[in-house]
Amino acid sequence: MSVVDAYIKVQNVSFSRGDRSIYESVSLTIPRGKITAVMGPSGTGKTTLLRLIAAQLAPNSGTILVDGQNVHALSRSELYKVRKKMGMLFQSGALFSDMTVAENIAFPMEEHTKLDAKTIAGIVADKLYSVGLRGAASLMPSELSGGMARRVALARAIALDPELVMYDEPFTGQDPISKGVLVKLIRQLNDSANMTSVLVSHDVEESLSIADHVCILAGGRVIAEGSADEIRASNDPEVKQFLNGEPDGPVPFHYPEESISSRATL
């Protein structure tokens, strides 16, 4: 692989939840200033990867370097500093339900900057404009549709002009129009603000259409990494199974069962 300017380097990371191993020595790179899509079937720990990068979870072994810093070796306050450079769009939007849309977007700025209220209000209006929801500033999150909530969450994630934005399943549960809007927004934000974007998704078409770099995870390891075209042209049966949505193949249809012998020892 060619040498790329990596913003995030995941090196030999293993992670398990209880007895279930999620990753076994996974390595991947996320290039700076590009959109990287991490794809894979549900349950392969795509969201876990984002949480590992954000150091909300710690790996059992291996290191994750974000902009050259090992996020799991940082102290709490240093980690919080690094997190200010990250924005995350959660699957559910995760808007604070007791604040209005505008307050939600203003919150990270009020918390981390010394800007006065007027400046913050200006930035909030600006961010809302960029996601096309300037008219919704005074609504409560419960009054928004799913697509609107995700756009507001996106506006909040970019409130501090982060270097890295992570999208957790941005397209899930969205109608085709909202999907199109999100695809356009993610591309636009990435290019105009020179951000690095990581996108976790199992929507093959949308992800391949915007990603500069694609990783496919399955069964706890990276089965393919490369540009969208390289992935499309891949001959690997696992990759083909995932892209074409075939029900059975190298990735088994059946969830692994406990063997009789392991049950007997319980």
Binding site: Q56, M88, F90, A94, P108
Partner: protein, 260 residues
């Protein structure tokens, strides 16, 4: 042998949970919000939802308990011809025992369960993670104001419960049953002492408030973030909270009023 192992394992689990809850409590108290104005706003909001919104149930239950106590007390005291002592009976039993305990039980049901459910839902909808991702500690933003509000509210609610109970009892014994008004109040005045009765009741209420609110916020924070998990956590808040109140009440009463 197996059952002894299981017993030991569950004891260790329990100890670990208590330890985690302890660390959690210390962390949330000692990491108060940095910005003073914001923390006051958050606290006032919680004081309103935990305290002010519990007022109705506290006042109504207090009044009814006072009324029932008077009826029961009167029927027994009348046999000895000392009906006016109903004031004393009412004030002492409310201040020393019933107000802190019943208020705390109602508080666990009304405010504790809603705290657990609210925090649990914030966890399920990733709002807590969202705070963390923004470099804001959810313990100080979400947990601390709720915990402090709970600790402040319960002793005050307990006093309000006593007042409401005494007024309710006054209504029944003086207005309906015809106990002499002056005797009702003077028997109360003679027998209630500020430092033994009122203060002890307040100390009890304060202990209960710490325990109940602690259980409520911890259960919310540690719950399994699914609808079933939140339901279970809410139930645990009420059950564990109530049991803790009753057990603690016995210990505190023995320490305060027992002659050892």
């Amino acid at each position: 042998m197996k059952s002894i192992e299981l017993l030991g394992a569950s004891l260790l689990d329990w100890l670990e949970a208590v330890g985690r809850a302890g660390i959690f409590l210390v962390q949330s108290i000692f990491r108060l919000p940095v910005r003073f104005k914001e923390s006051v706003n958050l606290l006032v909001k919680q004081l309103y939802s935990v305290g002010v919104l519990s007022l109705v149930i506290i006042i109504v239950s207090g009044a009814f308990i006072g009324m029932v106590l008077s009826l029961q007390g009167y029927s027994i005291l009348a046999k000895f011809g000392s009906e006016e002592a109903v004031g004393q009976l009412l004030a002492l039993s409310l201040l020393r025992e019933l107000s802190p305990v019943v208020t705390a039980l109602l508080f666990a049901g009304r405010a504790g369960s809603s705290l657990t459910a609210e925090i649990g839902l914030m966890k399920a909808t990733e709002q807590l993670s969202s705070f963390e991702m923004m470099g804001v500690d959810p313990l100080r933003r979400v947990i601390a104001p709720r915990f402090i509000a709970g600790v402040i509210c319960l002793p005050i609610l307990s006093l309000i419960f006593s007042a409401s109970g005494i007024l309710g009892g006054h209504l029944v014994s003086v207005q309906w049953l015809g106990v002499y008004d002056g005797a009702f109040w003077s028997s109360m005045q003679q027998s209630v002492y500020f430092d033994t009765d009122i203060m002890n009741g307040l100390i009890k209420a304060l202990c209960f408030s710490v325990v109940v609110t602690w259980i409520a916020v911890y259960q919310g924070y540690e719950c399994v973030p699914t609808s079933e998990g939140i339901g279970k956590a809410t139930t645990r808040t009420v059950v564990l909270g109530s049991l803790a109140i009753l057990a603690l009440d016995f210990i505190l009463t023995a320490a305060m009023f027992g002659d050892f």
